[in-house]
Symmetry: C2
Subunit: 102 residues, 2 copies
């Protein structure tokens, strides 16, 4: 799924595999293998796509998770990452608490 | 950053490192090393956290990316993953186009 998504990221940016490989600092054959699903995508590779295409790693994964459902009626415009938000609220709470302690 | 975030995910779920390790199918020492930042987090490990804590991999990364900013005034309730959404719209467009061709 992530492999297919990274192919779409490249095509969306109107790049050939050769051009994308150059931008990513990877070999053309590596990009080809990623897109075919012959190579697993590592965190380091995901980071390279993130840097090269100026898109957060979380958004790349979100795109990969959602891309199969695209074209259906679901609202893709706003994502509420529910548990992530709850945890961020929690971190904010404990941060306030720690600040108050000082 | 991701390492620290995974520690917070565990604490948020009120688990000791031992309990978390068991739930994750990892050794306690591995969890400890991850949390200290001594081990890089692989895709496979991120997948384990995703499964064990029932949270998409993209949300775990989003949490990691945003957690440093938590406690600030920014609105963390709704994330618009801008480029991901544009790409999903695009995928939806080409999917429609391909359907129409048939």
């Amino acid at each position: 799924m992530l492999n297919k998504a990274l192919r779409l990221v490249r095509v969306y940016h109107d790049l050939s595999q050769v051009d994308a490989a150059e931008r990513l600092g990877l070999s053309k054959s590596y990009v080809s293998e990623i897109e075919k699903g012959d190579k697993n995508v590592s965190m380091a590779t995901l980071q390279k796509y993130s840097d090269a295409f100026d898109i957060p790693m979380s958004s790349l994964l979100l795109f990969a998770e959602k891309v199969e459902g695209a074209g259906k009626a679901e609202n893709v415009r706003v994502f509420v990452a529910d548990k992530a938000v709850k945890m961020l609220d929690w971190v904010s709470t404990i941060s306030d608490y720690r600040s108050a302690e000082r």
